[in-house]
Symmetry: C2
Subunit: 589 residues, 2 copies
């Protein structure tokens, strides 16, 4: 069973801890809290604790079946929970301490929000009495910090309600469209007696996966049948909808002989249709001919779009009809509108659409597949892009894979990485300027990938661990830039302590290359002084830093050394860090 | 000139860059922004940039007199600015990137808020057009993130207004009570032409340092003259008010023969009256006899109080009248009320009070000093506390300074540290369970100290650098716990790159000792499993991590080695990290 087939699977209700009617009820709210998490089959809590969490820690330590994973920075707790929730499709919990701990976790909470990731943030607060007195690590408006990144937020007011409030937060987090929720837990409340409160997660779960209306389906059929060169863009929300939805995208494409694109680079968050599928046509890009010439785009569970800057022209093909399906009504037709906008679960939409296509009466022309010409053109175009190598600026190279400076290029690294990936590898991307080259390496090898479109650097360090814990059978390789990796350094403590098998490949160009690229875009060039002041990150040996944390770590300087280092990392248990030095002036494609 | 004499001094208006009427005006808002900062004599901008800051970076690189200090995590940019603002009493600037960068800086923004520290946060935002389209790294309510930690927040709406808005933010930040402000700067606006806008900082500065009313002064005089055993508690706000205020606290104490206490441990943020002063009586503590027996407490610029938990009994002496003076009206009499509450500048209050005392007519009994008995008792009591050693739990020790485990104790480390400090050293404290022992070491040596009462771990790593840059003539020693230090690791990059001479002493007890102490408080003990899961931080060699960043770093295991290591650190340029291993079971006093 792969991570993808498990995604979206409901929790096995029999795995929740059942209590017989005669069992003694938990005495304290902290115990009630642990029980509620177990009722929801939550097996991990990612925590960076302070004094306010003592009662929870005490209860959790005495309760079999719940693993409280210590982190040394809240950003790691949140990204680990996010990674786990993305892979399992089930809620995951980060427990943060007080106002400052919450603040430290907010950056990656935006990653969870964008991924519709059901991350429950529990937030230990100081006793209620000193909250009203401006006590240590209190804020007057805790909920203001989280409101825009959480679907629902609540601070429990009575110890008796904590079980209910946390269950409610889990319910809301998981109901489609899923997303983070927050519950504030005052120290005095979790340390107080609480009435027993228990309902199993099966009874609380809400099936909110919306089906399209009959009218919407009819219009979709009409638009599809009227199109000569339709394309599908399968976004992250299809993968979130589950393995059946991914299978149904393939079936739809095969039935109608149409190509399937992945979300564009900026919006890309996870692999949907594996790149080995014959209908896979690469990343959506309005500049691609097969996109520009399409006359219908079916955006399925994709954001339209995550804009890095306002585009000079529309990101839609000039003459295409648009169908936009997304679980989150607020995303549908957000920027461009659509001929048909549907707020629905991608899986439900696909199942209904396939059934409607199969049911089409012969008299109405039945379900007529296209002639496959546009499919072949799109796939050939993608193959051509792939054949260019991993997106390298070739002109600047002295020899293949080596820049004029003699240093390795990102292209060469990605080429070497391709040899080490396979379709059972999960890649976690946290690289900025080498992000596109990495995506191409993943496409080339049919590995699957998770990344964030939140821009919250360092996310990959924790997310990779959450993904690995969620599915220990898969190899997890996290590819980070040197700048990004610095943001997630503290995750190495947890990786080492818990022996989590993640290989971190740090592409170290000793630069804030994205900042260099931005100055170049703004001024047409980067002066040596600007480079020295704002772009140059040279200095640290990130391999030495990782060794300081107790991780196996090596620094290599050529793409040729990468394979051996990757295999060495795979052979030993626990985390490994491979720092590969690349040309600081290679700003990527 | 020491840091303390410079604190609160207004900027020299002649040092601002003057432009003659015929000078060409800045063409772009980014240039206008740099000019506005120079007009305010801002010489450093602490930044962790992204693409939205390109125009600012380009303008700053071409402008002499402004030093843009690159950091590799926003928490470092904010804590550096905070440290600098605390020492200079003048505004300091952190420039953060987008929503996720702001989130990363929020924890330490609460430290600046509590310190009434005039930190201006500039926040680069994506172009306005994509803010309304849910673009990359945008949030719908940016100001919600900062509202409760900033005195004033505004997102500039036109390029022409950026100079005005930033000047306004500096004006508000510096007007008493000082505090952080925030200005959102959309990328498209800073890259756009802007009308010239310039007014010198002298004309914009607001003298908001409130004097006490005549009625309040009369009542203060009345209360003081009616008291037999008055005491003064001089809080951080006296030091913020400037060197004259500190001198006047001493004069008041000498005139009336009364003892001066520092703020209690939880509220302590900076040294006011040097501990070498004969009237210095140590930390305010309602459990101390000289406090409990006082019949008047004059809280000057102190918070009453920063509560870690709700106290079992009042934190005020049972029979004392209370005068509470603070620059922030919201702090005055917040928890307990006062017989006289005055929202005023501590310096102004002291000057007026001293004058009123001197002017007392003979007929009214003049200014009669007390008999000094209570002063002598308070000072003797403090000497007795100091003589006990640096707050060590001595009973658990096998030999002086060595725990039963054979490991060094925090007490022994602080004893050894005392030998290396002197009154010219500035200590930055970022240690949790060893915080009180550190305070005692500082009192013992008449060093001065800055710390935060925000609980935002890792603050000291950046703050120490800001303090050093603000006053390069003073030695700066930052004492961090191993947990705290991990939160600020990224600061080492900046310390090394800019060769900032800070000695980081990391007291590594390989524990979240505060969490251990909390579990112990809650349950009466810590089980081996709880220790293993939640308290044990063993593993990293923080010295090796620091070496990875290129810092000079050593790990020592005994207090005896500390002196040599400290002197070695002082002799070499640039940052040094001394990791001293202490007993993991020594949870401190």
């Amino acid at each position: 069973m792969t991570a993808e087939t498990r995604a979206g699977a409901p929790a096995d209700p029999t795995s929740a801890v059942d209590r017989a009617p005669g069992d003694p009820a938990p005495a304290l709210a902290a115990e009630q809290l642990v029980q509620t998490l177990l009722d929801w089959d939550i097996r991990y809590v990612f925590i960076c604790p302070g004094s306010t969490e003592a009662a929870f820690l005490h209860a959790a330590a005495r309760t079999p079946g719940i693993d409280v994973v210590l982190t040394t920075h809240e950003s790691i707790a949140v990204s680990m929970a996010d990674g786990m929730a993305r892979v399992t499709g089930r809620p995951a919990v980060a427990y943060l301490h007080a106002n400052v701990g919450l603040a430290n976790g907010l950056g990656h909470l935006s990653a969870a929000r964008l991924a519709l990731s059901p991350v429950l943030v529990l937030n230990g607060l100081k006793p209620a009495q000193i909250q009203s007195r401006g006590g240590f690590t209190t804020s007057t408006h805790m909920r203001d910090y989280v409101r825009q990144d959480a679907k629902w937020d609540w601070q429990s007011l009575r110890s008796h309600d904590i079980g209910f409030d946390v269950a409610r937060a889990l319910q809301v987090a998981t109901a489609s469209p899923a997303g983070p929720t927050w519950v504030g837990l005052s120290q005095d409340l979790i340390e107080s007696p609480a009435d027993a409160w228990s309902r199993d997660s099966g009874r609380l779960a809400v099936d909110a996966a919306a089906r399209p209306s009959r009218a919407a389906l009819q219009k979709a059929l009409h638009l599809l049948r009227a199109a000569a060169r339709p394309i599908v863009v399968a976004g992250a929300d299809v993968a979130r909808a589950g393995a059946d939805a991914v299978r149904d995208v393939a079936r739809l494409a095969e039935t109608l002989r149409i190509p399937v694109f992945a979300e564009d680079r900026r919006g890309f968050e996870r692999t949907v249709l594996p790149s080995r599928h014959p209908h896979y046509a690469g990343l959506y890009d309005p500049g691609r001919r097969s996109v520009a010439e399409s006359d219908l785009v079916l955006f399925l569970g994709a954001r339209c779009f995550t804009e890095f800057e306002a585009p000079a022209r529309s990101s839609l093909p000039p003459a295409a009809a648009v169908i936009h399906v997304h679980a989150d009504p607020a995303e549908v037709g957000k920027i461009y509108g659509a001929d048909l906008g549907v707020a629905a679960d991608s899986g439900a939409f696909l199942a209904d659409l396939l059934e409607a296509l199969a049911d089409l009466p012969e008299a109405a022309g039945g379900c007529v597949p296209g002639d496959g010409r546009h499919l072949r053109a799109a796939v050939a175009e993608h193959a051509e892009i792939m054949s260019r190598g991993p997106g390298a600026p070739e002109s600047s190279e002295a020899a293949p894979g080596v820049a004029a400076s003699g240093a390795t290029t990102v292209a060469a690294v990605m080429e070497a990485l391709s040899s080490e990936l396979d379709e059972d590898t999960v890649v976690v991307g946290d690289a900025t300027t080498s992000g596109l080259a990495l995506l191409h390496a993943v496409e080339r090898t049919a590995a699957s990938m998770h990344t964030t479109s939140s821009g919250s650097l360092g996310w990959g360090v924790g997310a990779a661990m959450g993904i690995k814990l969620a599915d220990p059978s898969r190899r997890v390789v996290a590819v980070c830039g040197d700048g990004s990796f610095q943001f997630g350094l503290q995750g190495l403590w947890t990786a080492v302590r818990h022996g989590i098998d993640v290989t971190y490949l740090v592409v170290n160009n000793e630069s804030y290359a994205a900042v260099g690229a931005a100055i170049r875009r703004f001024t047409g060039g980067v002066t040596p002084r600007e480079r020295e002041l704002f772009v140059d990150l040279a200095g640290p040996s990130l391999a030495t830093v990782a060794q300081g944390f107790g991780a196996h770590a090596v620094r290599v300087r050529s793409a040729g050394e990468l394979g051996k280092a990757m295999r060495g990392a795979a052979e030993r248990p626990g985390p490994a860090v491979i720092e590969i030095m690349t040309d600081p002036f290679d700003l990527g494609p």
